[in-house]
Amino acid sequence: MLSPGFDISGALASSGITRRQLTKYCAGLLATLALPERYLAQTVAAVGSVKKPVLVWLQFQDCTGCSESMLRSSHPDVADIVLDLLSWEYHEVIMAGAGGYANALLDRIVKEQKGQYLVVVEGAIPTAEGGAYCTIGGHSAIEIAEKVCRNAAATMAVGACAFDGGLVRSSPNPTGALGVHEAVPGIKVINMAGCPHNPANTAAVVVHYLTFHDLPALDQYNRPLFAYGRVIHDQCERRAHYDAGRFVTEWGDEGSRKGWCLYKMGCKGPEATFNCPVVQWNDHTSWPVRAGHGCIACASPRFWDHMSPFYERLPNVPGFGVETSAGEIGLGLVGAVVAGVTAHGLIKMIQPAPQSIPPVASPRKDV
């Protein structure tokens, strides 16, 4: 379907986007990716001249929140992604065709673009009942994922459900739901955890892929380090209040009006990693802690079971010893962050030595 010689910079120019704007936009992406500026020329070249790769976005046991999150992308603007950056051909929530036309298109992409297209998966994949808990066009989610992901250049699992089964997989996991890397083992997959994923990070990974033809550095959960390598508590705008002992102690109290620390209201920021406080949401407008609610660690593995009850203070989260004190709450991160990442400040506080305490465990039957 590629027309020879097509280049996006031409299309960009015809739509009024100048080289300068393109450069600015790529510089912004590099900042998100924490890449040095010397890559700028390469990124601009990749975004500006590469033939558009085809993108397939699959939805399985999802709430469509991750699709919606992508539609909120502002840098780049979602219209630019859809029209200029990629050929965004299959995405049920927004594509033009339906039924037989949609199915035929997907088959054609898998056949004709084999090994070249990108696939994004949203939602968990149910494995019980022969796949009957999610079918599209009469085919089970697992059958579709096998076919589409195995023939792709790379797979991105966006959101908690595609990452590790998310809410759908939480106890008692009624449908045998799994994340993509477990349901389709052995494929190249990058996990954009979060509930939903943050479109700024996802767009940055796409551009990284277009530029370097490879995925950015990943942690042990195949999440990109630039987005999941730092503890929320360490990046939090309320951190100074924690250090000074100023806490919200009741919803609606003076501390809540002054933006004090939410640790005592159950905030999971001390044991969660994500760049949420820095990248923020909806064109850098805010993030949950700014809106007065504690973090629920939505980018952490199996967070629905591991991090709830959400209003319990961290030491009471099952999996931590009851004697654990407030100062030891960074502990779970020893298991959560890959070796080689700079240890965050909290690790210094941990007593006794980290290896004597198990990583976060599920309070429930691990299905």
């Binding site: 085809v54 029209l83 808990y133 909806n282 007065g292």
Partner: protein, 579 residues
């Protein structure tokens, strides 16, 4: 005689399959099936009812606040908690903004391509498009240069041979009737709306940290602290200014783009004022109180039922008359599976008996959907924007009556045209316009309260579970963008014993019931012409007019109906005594 299958039905939320019998170019029968199940209500069992909203919110990421709101209302109803005025206002703003944004996205990004031929837009004369645009609206982006730029951008995409989202469209289908100039206008506004929706919904980020899934509700209120003198309060004068600006932009977009476009496009598809009629029964729980949430007469959308398209009578809503049956759904009841159960006594276990995937057809004579079948007093009901407008109109709600009469006059049409595919589209647009006006009022009300030192946003009386009774049950209702939503919760000790959601799309998209009565989708397709079975554009038009949300619609509950020990007095919007 041919069996037509549309699966996936795209440009909706979730996984919907339509099977239709086509005779002589028209649909003679149809079956609506939800093909995905998660079991969120089972997952909720045993968890802290105060955080149920965080889980229930994930029922849907499109209408991302509605389940959170219904959930906190249900738990507040069970535990007899009243929320402060500011919390009511903030909830109204968040839910109202959801409604406006959702309706705009629905029209442009989920529905427009059923009416608008993108390929035809390339043939348009941009100068003529500008003339048309300027004749229907004062919107400032209506110059020939602007439309020429849009046309070139689309041409660039088409010329590249890589059509992106438009690759699978039914371009050139005989049912497309707009002139190229109007197609170009709509394509331009498709892109404008894509940009506007993400800007506007920053309102949710201000009040909830992010969208989708704003994180700001509490059982007993909201986390959105107010303080006129604190820079880190969630709501302060600077944030009010920002909210005002967003709402102002929303008014501009709805008044100058959305509503004029809907009316212009509708005027060129008048056949569709008589197609997709459906059931003629309309249910509205009512919502958006301007004062006391216990008092339905304070609702923007009145509570009531209209039966058989008879606008002369509005029947009251009795919560005890709601049932869900599973005659054609992949569930089983332990006892009598033939009759429906009230949600508070509901009992469901998933039991798939359909064909093993991959399959070609569902066994529609038996069970064929993951959706259950809700009924009111045994009758199928349509819910949604049209139901709200019909019930509001029949109730004589002045704003709704004026809005509808205005449009009927414009088309020189009787009220019966409301009962149609286009009626649903027009109802949605008018409702968005009404809601923008409310958003302006609520933001000012909030600002006034803050200036007068009324800062309360949370009622702490029942936050500590030690204050709870041993067991409690309640329910919460909300008029979500897609219609009447109810959550029912059963609390025992400090944990959820049972949880159920009866969701708008379940009402509309349900399979038929035990006596063979069709639901709203199935009924509305009967008689619809299908020009080309490979490109079932006409089916999409009517199904999309309901704005399906299938992830919402599929649910399951625990299998223990029981007597509640603590019947509650009504305390939230939509609440009445259950028994």
């Amino acid at each position: 005689m041919a069996r037509l299958v549309v699966d996936p039905v795209t440009r909706i939320e979730g996984h919907l399959r339509i099977e239709a019998q086509v005779d002589g170019g028209k649909i003679s029968d149809s079956w609506s099936a939800g093909t995905m199940f998660r079991g969120i209500e089972l997952i909720l069992q045993g968890r802290d009812p105060r955080e149920a909203w965080i889980w229930a919110q994930r029922i849907c990421g499109v209408c991302t606040v509605v389940h959170a709101l219904a959930s906190v209302r249900a738990v507040e109803n069970a535990l007899d908690i009243e929320v402060p005025t500011n919390a009511r206002i903030v909830r109204n703003i968040i839910a109202g903004a959801q409604m406006v944004q959702d309706h705009v996205i629905h029209f442009y990004h989920l529905h427009a391509l059923d009416w608008v031929d993108v390929a035809s837009a390339l043939k348009a004369d941009p100068a003529k498009t500008a003339t048309i645009a300027q004749s229907i609206s004062d919107y400032d982006k209506s110059s020939a240069t602007y439309f020429k730029g849009i046309q070139q951008r689309v041409k660039g995409v088409v010329d590249s041979g890589q059509l992106s989202l438009f690759a699978s469209g039914y371009w050139g289908h005989p049912a497309y009737q707009l002139p190229p100039e109007v197609n170009l206008l709509a394509v331009a506004h498709y892109l404008e709306a894509l940009s506007w929706q993400k800007d506007f919904i920053r309102l949710h980020a201000v009040l909830g940290g992010k969208n989708p899934h704003p994180q700001t509700f509490l059982v007993g209120g909201m986390t959105t602290s107010l303080d006129p003198n604190e820079p880190f309060a969630v709501i302060n004068p600077e944030r009010i200014t920002f909210l005002r600006q967003l709402v102002k932009e929303a008014r501009r977009f709805v008044d100058q783009v959305y509503v004029p476009d809907v009316l212009a496009i509708a005027s060129m598809y008048k056949d569709w004022f008589t197609r997709g009629e459906g059931l003629g029964n309309f249910l509205c729980y009512g919502d958006y109180s301007s004062g006391n949430e216990k008092d339905p007469s304070s609702f923007l959308f009145p509570r009531g039922i209209v039966l058989g398209r008879d606008l002369s009578k509005v029947y009251p809503v009795d919560a005890s008359k709601i049932t869900e049956s599973i005659n054609h759904s992949w569930y089983e009841y332990s006892g009598d599976s033939a009759n429906g159960k009230h949600p508070a006594q509901g009992e469901t276990n998933p039991k798939y008996t359909g064909p093993k995937p991959p399959y070609e057809f569902l066994d529609v004579d038996n069970k064929y959907s993951w959706l259950k079948t809700p009924r009111y007093d045994g009758k199928p009901m349509e819910v949604g924007p049209l139901a709200r407008m019909v019930v509001g109109y029949a109730s004589g709600q002045p704003e709704i009556k004026a809005a509808i009469d205005g449009v009927l006059k414009k088309f020189n049409a009787p009220a019966t045209v409301l009962f149609s595919t286009l009626g649903r589209i027009a109802a949605r647009a008018l409702e968005a316009q009404l809601m923008v006006g409310q958003l302006e009022k609520w933001v000012e009300e909030l600002s006034m309260n803050m200036e007068h030192g009324t800062l309360s946003i949370f009622n702490p009386v029942r936050w500590d579970p030690a204050t709870w009774p041993k067991s409690a049950a309640g329910f919460g209702w909300h008029e979500a963008p897609r219609g009447s939503l109810g959550h029912w919760v059963d609390i025992e000790g400090r944990a959820i014993k049972n949880y159920q959601a009866v969701v708008p799309t379940t009402w509309n998209a349900a399979p038929r019931d035990g006596s063979g009565q069709r639901g709203a989708y199935e009924a509305s397709l009967i008689g619809t012409p299908v020009a080309d079975p490979d490109r079932p554009l006409e089916i999409l038009r009517t199904i999309h007019s309901f704005d399906p949300c299938i992830a919402c619609a599929v649910h399951v509950i625990d299998g223990h109906g029981r007597e509640h020990t603590l019947p509650r007095t009504a305390s939230v919007a939509g609440a009445g005594r259950l028994r």
